[in-house]
């Protein structure tokens, strides 16, 4: 969908029923209808450009390009924008945004720069601290659901390994194997 199509769609909505007269549910349904017509992975969703860049940098550090493309080329930030923007509950979305803000706060404390402006070494060091915190939480049988890094790592893995690049080029997923071969020597 290009910009002109979107303007036309929005215009038709405004024309058919005044947005101001719609209930919250109706507005939401209209929003869903618009989103359903937007191809996945194209938008920033609920993120500001800065937040979207931050999400992109984190996913790139989790699944970088190697001999195969990484999370960025696979469109993972766009997938996360859809999930955080449309799928998450408001409290989950708030926690995710707070996690992004916390990443900048920690980076600023360490190096005086936002996360995305830091060096790769600084960024990697910070993510390692977050990953270690997840490991500690897990060792203590703590609740992982609300941990920002656990969540963005999970979304990155899901988004990557269910993307066309992740499934076909990284995992060599066969859509129609044609046979079942359960026990080959590695």
């Amino acid at each position: 969908m290009n910009r002109r199509d979107l303007v036309q769609l929005l215009g038709s909505l405004v024309g058919s029923a005044g947005l101001s007269s719609m209930t919250a549910d109706q507005l939401f349904a209209r929003g869903q209808a618009i989103n359903a017509r937007m191809p996945p992975g194209n938008g920033r969703g609920p993120f500001t450009p800065h937040q979207f860049d931050t999400v992109g940098r984190v996913t790139d550090l989790i699944i970088p390009a190697t001999d195969t493309p990484g999370a960025l080329e696979a469109g993972v930030p766009g997938f996360i924008a859809i999930i955080v923007g449309e799928w998450y509950t408001a409290p989950d979305r708030d926690r995710f945004m707070a996690g992004l803000a916390d990443l900048d706060a920690r980076s600023n404390q360490d190096s005086g720069r936002d996360f995305v402006s830091g060096s790769e070494a600084d960024q990697t060091r910070l993510l390692q601290i977050l990953d270690d915190e997840v490991s500690l939480l897990r060792a203590q049988n703590g609740k992982l659901d609300n941990n920002f890094f656990h969540r963005i790592k999970g979304l990155t893995l899901y988004g990557y390994y269910t993307s066309e690049i992740g499934m076909t080029r990284e995992l060599h997923y066969q859509v129609i194997p044609g046979r079942y071969d359960p026990c080959s020597r590695p």
Binding site: K153, L157, Y158, T162, E164, E170, P177, G178, C183, P186
Partner: protein
Amino acid sequence: MRNDSFDAIVVGSGISGGWAAKELTEKGLRTLVLEAGGPIDPGTDFVEHVQPWQLHYQGFGDRIALERDQFIQKHCYACDEWSGKFFVNDRDNPYTFDKTQPFHWIRGRQVGGRSIMWGRQVYRWSDLDFEANSRDGFGVDWPIRYADIAPWYDYVEQFIGISGERLGLPQLPDGQFLPPMALNCAEKAVRERLAGQFDGERVLTIGRCAILTQAHGGRAPCHYCGPCERGCITFSYFNSLGVTLPAAAATGRLTLRPWSVVHSVLYDEARGRASGVRVIDARTKEETVFSARVVFLCASALESTRILLNSRTPRFPDGLANSSGELGRNLMDHCMGGGAHGRLPDIREANSAGRRPNGIYIPRFQNVNRQHPDFLRGYAFQGGGWQDGWGRGNDMPGFGKDFKTALRTPGGWGFSFYGFGECLPRPTNYVEIDEHQVDAWGVPALRIHCEWSDNERKLLQDMSVTAAEMLEATGVKDVVAHVDDNPPGLTIHEMGTARMGRNPRTSVLNSHNQAHDVKNLFVTDGACMTSSANQNPSITYMALTARAVAYSVDQMKRNEL
């Protein structure tokens, strides 16, 4: 209001309705099949080869829509971003229950019904099951025994194609099997290590399933893409859409009418017969009456009973064919979710091709050769071995290049047993019409009263104990036993509520699924079940349906119907 007449009417186009349609038409009857939902076009509606990246939420599903429109259906594993369209809208299809007694009623309204997304497991019953009620006194005695149904199992299995392994076990009779699917290496290891233990009573075999392992009846064998519940463009698993309904259509005597919500069965008081059915068009809500010489209800256990409860006449003020008062009673579902899982670190081989849409099976071993002191009846295990994929990354420390490289290859092996137990027939588990609730078509809805008894809870507990001990005994490490708290209904083996029996005073249907009270009315879906056994029930519905049609047509030829 139009009035069209047929030789036979079949309500429902799923597992049972498809069989009724095939048998009735092949025996020469002009047959109308009424389906509440819409048609299915395999070319566009089957989505087993659609990949996650082609979906808006990449397979996460539309959480908000699910919570709004499918707040019950979403509990079924198969109601996902691909297959959610095969499950009903819960707002259009309400039913009620007490908050303290949740019942998850999982439903599919489309041509093919739930045969589109069923679990495909196929196990015969034995006399251990048909004699269970008479042995311990719960429920009434089945009016049939294994010998009555065995030839019909043969008949339906040969037609639809069942893959499996012959075991020679009396409690789980062998069938007409195509070659079995292969066990994976974890399953082979557990099977070999299990042999010779537990007095040889616990046998691991590949699941018996309605999935072709070789070409059969003009259908291609399975291509192992994996998610059968999304449809199958090659019809390699059985559903009525691709197997029984085409056979019925080939006779030229089938009229298939989608979008036809059956409100009730019409009863001719003077003649004491069902005269037809009252139908509400699902799209226009226009009412139509269809008449026929014989009516087969195959709408699913609770829908068929709901139709009868909604068919109130002066002679039957509490529901058609309900002189016994048993209509709606003795609702059952298999209790599932006692089990255990663990790891097999000594397995080194890897899955290299294919996703097998089938698991393993441990046939019932409790209360087969001797009576357990704590509980009646028994259970079987499904489950199997699996090799970890990229999902293990969620629980692994690390990120970056080495992390990505590690997730490129499959991980270690896990193994699980998951139990399915028999549910006792009890009159206190029942359905009735909720006088204050109608569905989107104005049809009065059900109120469901159902809860597990102590016996089901003990079965679940014992499942977790025996599953764990089998894993420990076969070298599985890090064993974790569990008892899942699944509400009745979620196993989607709901059955009973119009049981078969010998005595018209204590049962609704006779030994041929014919209503005691209304001779030209047959109910051949799960509603007819007198007990639940622990086997997945669909093949028994198919066999009973074919058997009932043969009887009904024979009766018609003798002018006794």
